[in-house]
Amino acid sequence: MKNNQFDFAVIGAGVSGAWIAYELSKYTAKTCLIEKENDVAMGATKANSAIIHAGYDPVPGTLMAKLNIRGNELVRKLCKKMDIPFRQIGSLVIALTEEDEAKIRELYERGLQNGVDGLRILNKTETLSLEPNLSPEVRGALFAETAGVCSSFEMSCAPAEVAENNGVELIRNFKVENIRINGEYTVLVSSSGQTVSARTVINAAGVHADEIAKLFGDDSFIITPRKGEYSILDNNCGDLVHHVIFQPPVKFGKGILVSQTVDGNIIVGPTAENIDDKENKATTFEGQLTAFEGARRSVPSVSERDVITSFTGIRPIGGKGDFIIGFSDFNNRLFNVAGIESPGLTAGPAIGEYVVEKIAESGFEFVAKENFDNNRKVIRFKDLSDDEKNKIIAQNPLYGRVICRCETVTEGEIADSVTRGAGARDMDGVKRRVRAGMGRCQGGFCGPRVMEIIARELDIPMSEVTKFGGASRMTEKEMI
């Protein structure tokens, strides 16, 4: 750490923390973004449905409704500028029963109240002509034009990168475990005894936000972890559906969806199960069964045979029915951003805006930087024309060497993902940013080559490369 006194310390580099840091980086105030893991986007932000929701779900008048609508708008605007993969494919909430039909009409009304554009109720024929692989039982659907799919990783890598490029310090592997008061500063102490001081601490610690709040004497909320299991299918099945297919919401969430991902695979899930252990990301036999049975109600031909990987995400349920965003009533050094459950990913950019607005309202004088720059460009070799490919290879020959065959990712892209702002430090970090290892061979072929590139770019021995930091080493220390 260059100088460890800051105006703002944001705890947690998920989508919330990253967009808060992004927003703060527009101003001269000194900010750091603290993350306990080796990379950004390691919490709920890593494992979710990656849907940019239109905004017909949240109860009208809630912060959730407001930030969902504003987030959707901002995502559509900023994705181009910041080169965040996003496709506005639209969503369908399908009705399979009469009861469902009533529910989608209710959602439609709610959407209108929330100010969602582009909502329509479709009849059976219209629904099936949009999505021929849906269950023949389908009776109609609520179509939302402004919904889409994104890369949930890049939804936080991109703002974290822009924040870092504009002066925010990203501090990794710093697990806030304790605090001390030092005059007007709060000293955050990590599990390994390192310290960072800040005037205002912004708590965006996801499932752990209640523990952070407790350190400040704030026990006004409890975060309950609720897990959701998913499977990703091979992109051979990419044509199964072309929109996000939801069933009407159930008590525990938005139900099981089937959707194209931003990269053209199919995602199936999530389940919803309250758990005790906030870090329990294990997949289970039962969970996978539930996900597929649920999915087959919408799309009968979805099959486990095409699975290339499965994962679990943990929802940080705040229990208040709304996002918890604001200065703590117990300690005015603490600003909570907690209970950020779905549609938290969508709301991310709007959460950033809202937090700064609230802090400004409290009297803090933000001074805008003159040279704030949020332009971001990522070279994705696969998407370039032949001419563009040749041009980039002439500039940097590493773009001519394909390392990941399944996703056609070049050495140039992998090296760039390590060296750019808020870059990758490990195998999963590279995978999340450039998809090397995310395809059907899951890194079997490119794994050792990616290890080599990371080691070279970070100037460490290959044997020190990890899967995701900490003790997740790839190999033994000693060479043979």
């Binding site: 036999f285 990987t309 997740s472």
Partner: protein, 327 residues
């Protein structure tokens, strides 16, 4: 850049090399072999154990030695090679797009194409083993590359899931490098590996082979710490109550190979749902005339000697195809 050739061979492993050489022997010139790795030889470069060539050469060679024989034969011909070059796509009109660091994107028009891209390994994701997703889980072939090419040990206390040949070979390799291999678990009632590999790689080292057992859960947050195994019934479903915890810091998967068929699919070639390789009516010709397939991309072989034998035939048929077209 554009190139015109008579035959383009995609993949410079034993299949591609044998097919290219045979084409040349049959009087075809202007042949190009394209290989994504920096060296020719394919998967054999990491198979440093002996056991290759008994049928073709009548002597026992290591993988790299076997490959070198073909690389040497090739260098005595005018067959062109492009290494460190990845083929990105193939059209039914036999136009290949490839890319490398020096030439950029190369468009290759070819009268006939021989597919010889080999295979890939089935992964944990495809098996859908529940549990955590820690480091330390490798396919056996990836582990083989780490040990034999990179000089890195995947771990110290290994369990192997699946008794395919590569898994068996790696059980021995890991043991020789000082790791403990506590057992091989195979879901089927009998091993799919070669008898000689079971004897030489497991029995000789006292490594137990557990049949009709599979992994039902993976444990460990950062690095794998163990797996739960269970016995399976006739339908290969785990039997409740037979679960057993096995400690390990490394899990190697040797659970099957699948032909590498991205390019084949892209060219509109029919894929056999059983072999997962191209459907070839006769003479190793795929459903697209003039595109041939041989080696592991066609179907998964146990022995490289058989790959060579079949690939020679594929090369001969490709040569015949070109001759018939120019008449």
């Amino acid at each position: 850049m554009k190139m015109n050739v008579n035959v383009a061979v995609i993949g410079g492993g034993p299949a591609g090399l044998a097919a290219a050489l045979e084409c040349r022997k049959n009087g075809i010139d202007n042949i190009l072999v394209i290989e994504r790795d920096k060296q020719l030889g394919g998967i054999l470069n990491q198979c440093i154990h002996p056991g290759f060539g008994l049928h073709v050469f009548g002597e026992e060679l290591t993988g790299p030695e076997y490959a070198q024989r073909y690389i040497d034969m090739l260098s005595d011909t005018d067959i062109k090679t492009l290494t460190d070059t990845m083929v990105l796509s193939l059209t039914p009109q036999k136009v290949i797009r490839a890319v490398n660091t020096s030439l950029g994107v190369v468009e290759i028009h070819s009268k006939a194409v021989i597919l010889a891209m080999g295979c890939r390994e089935r992964t944990r994701g495809m098996l859908r083993i529940p549990g955590t997703r820690p480091a330390g889980i490798y396919t056996a072939g990836t582990a083989q590359r780490l040990v034999n090419i990179e000089g890195l040990m995947p771990g110290k206390n290994t369990v192997i899931l699946g008794s395919g040949d590569i898994g068996l070979i790696m059980a021995r390799r890991m043991t020789l490098e000082g790791a403990k291999v506590s057992g091989v678990y195979e879901i089927m009632p009998k091993s799919g590996g070669l008898k000689r590999n079971i004897v030489q790689c497991l029995n000789d080292f006292g490594i137990p082979l557990h049949l009709s057992k599979t992994a039902v859960e993976i444990h460990g947050r950062e690095r794998i710490e163990g797996i739960t195994v269970a016995a399976v019934d006739e339908n290969l479903s785990p039997i409740k109550g037979t679960e057993e915890y096995v400690e390990c810091d490394t899990l190697l998967l040797s659970v099957g190979l699948i032909p590498e068929n991205e390019l084949s699919r892209g060219a509109g070639i029919l894929i056999d749902p059983k072999t997962k390789g191209p459907v070839c009516e006769s003479g190793f010709e795929t459903s697209v005339p003039g595109i041939f397939a041989c080696g592991n991309v066609y179907k998964v072989y146990d022995l490289v000697d058989n790959v060579t034998k079949d690939s020679v035939l594929a090369g001969r048929y490709a040569a015949e195809y070109i001759r018939s077209k120019s008449e």
